[in-house]
């Protein structure tokens, strides 16, 4: 356990929310503690993960990528093969099932590019729950097809016309909706963020990634990897991957933040590397902000990393030195997309491409008998348009 006191990871985390939500958070915490121990709940969740989501996902040895880098062996944890195309469904399904057990009838969620919204809408369709998703108006325009996809799944999508009209504002609005409808509604937060107990719940529902990886690598290599690499936006795929390895000190953990147009330009989403702490959306964490404590917009070509904060457990892992937080730029991520396509026939999500980039750099510095596992958190189908535009439709 990395939680040091109730709801805190070192000095990070906590419950910085309006009083109206405190009872709901307490209720959620109690329910979660109960169902966490409840074998029939866990069994039902395992059933859906296997039969519906398609777990377990392969831990695939990327032979040609390995050869290309000429160093450590690279394995890819294939979360891109999950139903709906990313790790997001692990958490959405877990929380929707939890909410249903708690007697909630409605689900509210925020979404940026739409991935978490689609995953949540999917889980709600499956479990027969009403679902409302808030999405920044800019994102609604950019991601019209994901909006339609959510609607197909029976979800109501609300465009948020406030603030920067992106993810941050969608979270604000979803929180407001939750405050107003808290008795009937559960808020499914999409990343390992927010007030306690959300970072714990999201991590626990995502740890299946790391648990499977550990079992698989032991089967394949009969030992643990030397390094594990995952991208960090809010940090849900990475915390799910890291968590089961935290006590294994010989395994180096690398979180890759989005350096956007370059860290030095200020147009990035690298909250940990930027180094300022603050409170947003319920938690004390590393946060992109100006000297007045006003939250700044994050910048990344990858919508899923485009968030100004980072989950509190990562903040703690950074401060204790257990995990290292490095960066990849937009251009590096794009190059990694191309590289993984060419060498392995796998089109990674732009988010995951940040991790791929760093892993290839790292592999080159390591020996052939060493092992790196990369969390391939999602598939890149959703990003083909962005990649096309970024490369000007031309491929060198």
């Amino acid at each position: 356990m990395t939680m040091t006191t109730k709801g805190k990871f070192g000095r990070f985390g906590g419950q910085f929310v309006p009083e109206t939500l405190m009872t709901a958070l307490q209720e959620l915490e109690e329910a979660y503690e109960h169902y966490k121990q409840d074998e029939s709940f866990q069994q039902e969740l395992r059933y859906y993960l296997k039969e519906y989501v398609g777990r377990e996902t392969p831990l695939y040895f990327a032979q040609r990528l390995t050869k290309h880098c000429g160093g450590a062996k690279i394995y890819l944890k294939r979360e891109d093969l999950n139903h709906t195309g990313a790790h997001k469904i692990n958490n959405a399904l877990g929380q929707a099932l939890l909410a249903k057990k708690m007697g909630k009838t409605k689900i509210v969620a925020e979404t940026g590019a739409g991935q978490h919204g689609v995953a949540t809408a999917t889980a709600c369709a499956l479990l027969g729950m009403e679902c409302i998703v808030f999405m920044g108006a800019e994102d609604v325009k950019r991601q019209a097809l994901n909006v339609f996809r959510m609607e197909l799944l029976g979800t109501k999508v609300v465009a948020v016309e406030k603030g920067s009209r992106t993810l941050k504002d969608a979270v604000n609005e979803a929180l407001r909706y939750w405050v107003t409808n808290v008795e009937t509604t559960h808020y499914i937060l999409g990343s390992a963020l927010g007030p306690h107990p959300f970072p714990v719940i999201v991590r626990d529902f995502q740890r299946v990634i790391g648990d499977e990886t550990k079992k698989q690598i032991l089967e394949k290599e009969n030992r643990l990897p030397d390094a594990v690499v995952a991208c960090i936006g809010g940090g849900s795929n990475s915390i799910g991957m890291f968590y089961p390895f935290i006590e294994d000190r010989e395994v180096a953990l690398y979180g890759v933040e989005a350096a956007g147009k370059g860290f030095e330009t200020g147009k990035h989403a690298a909250a940990i590397n930027a180094g300022k702490t603050g409170v947003l959306h319920g938690a004390f964490m590393y946060l992109l902000q100006d000297d007045n404590g006003f939250v700044q917009e994050a910048h990344s070509i990858s919508a899923g990393l485009d968030y100004p904060g980072v989950g509190p457990e990562h903040c703690y892992l950074h401060e204790t030195g257990r995990a290292k937080y490095v960066m990849a730029t937009d251009d590096e991520a794009l190059a990694a997309v191309k590289l993984l396509c060419r060498t392995e026939g796998i089109l990674p999500a732009l988010e995951s491409a940040h991790a791929v980039h760093y892993a290839t750099e790292l592999a080159k510095t390591m020996d052939p008998d060493q092992i790196i596992v990369v969390c391939l958190s999602g598939r890149g189908d959703k990003d083909v348009h962005t990649i096309y535009d970024a490369l000007g439709g031309e491929l060198a």
Binding site: L21, M22, V182, Q289
Partner: protein, 260 residues
């Protein structure tokens, strides 16, 4: 004794209900802060809640959020608000209460904030995204500077929490009248009277009702079973329109409620 509590009790002793208007600092420009505060003081309000704009005001409804957006566009910051207030603090006779989200305070530095706020006439602080459990972060510094930390009690707070919150709250207890965010409403649900009486039963600190109160009728309705009211969105809206008559009517209503 807390200046805020004293001001509320004094108003009650005069046979009136306490009336605390909320204003968004910097809405319409920081130069409006002084005339607005002095005019409200002249109207006989009990205290003034001064809102500090923030980029992500999750507890606020559309009216106050938009006022915040306007204030931010004017370049308003916590630092500038405190400096502006300090410039005419000697003219302010009633206590000011700062309503701010936590992050600007953290960025300012808690100790320095407490000192500068006191110099600016701030006698109480409300931080809507900081529940009691997290208040150790700021409470010692505020206490040292002689500033109250006001707690909110919501409709969803359990009896155990209500007891804890009312005992911890300084100055007054901010009792939220609705589930949700700030903003004008046409009606309220449930048996609010017994809820408020329950809250008051734990403490001799006055209980004030807030969120959604927007008409003289609301003021009278809530005034009939509380020590007073806080009016936010309606004041912000009226100030933006320059409609001082509406504000005056609300203040007047607080002076016509018979004491329970």
């Amino acid at each position: 004794m807390s200046q805020i509590k004293e001001a509320i009790l004094e108003t009650n002793r005069q046979g009136h209900k306490a009336f605390i208007p909320y204003i968004m600092a910097g809405d319409g420009g920081l130069e409006k802060l002084k005339p607005t505060i002095l005019k409200l003081q002249e109207l006989g309000v009990t205290a003034i809640e001064v809102g500090i704009p923030f980029t992500d005001p999750v507890a606020d409804g559309p009216t106050i959020e938009e006022a915040g957006v306007r204030a931010l566009a004017n370049g308003t910051t916590l630092r500038k608000v405190l400096e502006t207030l300090a410039g005419f603090a000697h003219e302010i006779k009633i206590p000011l209460i700062a309503m701010t989200y936590l992050n600007p305070v953290l960025a300012y530095g808690i100790g320095q904030f407490a000192k500068d706020a006191h110099k600016a006439g701030i006698r109480g602080v409300i931080i809507p995204d900081m529940p009691l459990e997290e208040s150790d972060l700021v409470h010692p510094a505020l206490k040292a500077a002689g500033i109250d930390l006001v707690q909110l009690v919501s409709l969803t707070s359990t009896p155990e929490r209500i007891e804890k919150l009312t005992k911890a709250s300084e100055g007054f207890i901010y009792a939220v009248t609705v589930n949700g965010i700030t903003g004008a409403r046409s009606s309220f649900e449930g048996d609010l009277e017994s809820h408020f009486k329950k809250i008051q039963s734990y403490t001799d600190t006055p209980v004030l009702a807030g969120f959604g109160i927007s008409t003289p009728e609301h003021v009278k309705q809530f005034g009939s079973f509380t020590s007073g009211v806080i009016v936010g969105s309606k004041i912000v809206d009226s100030l933006a329109k320059g409609d001082w008559d509406a504000i005056e009517n609300l203040v007047k209503a607080s002076k016509t409620v018979p004491l329970a």
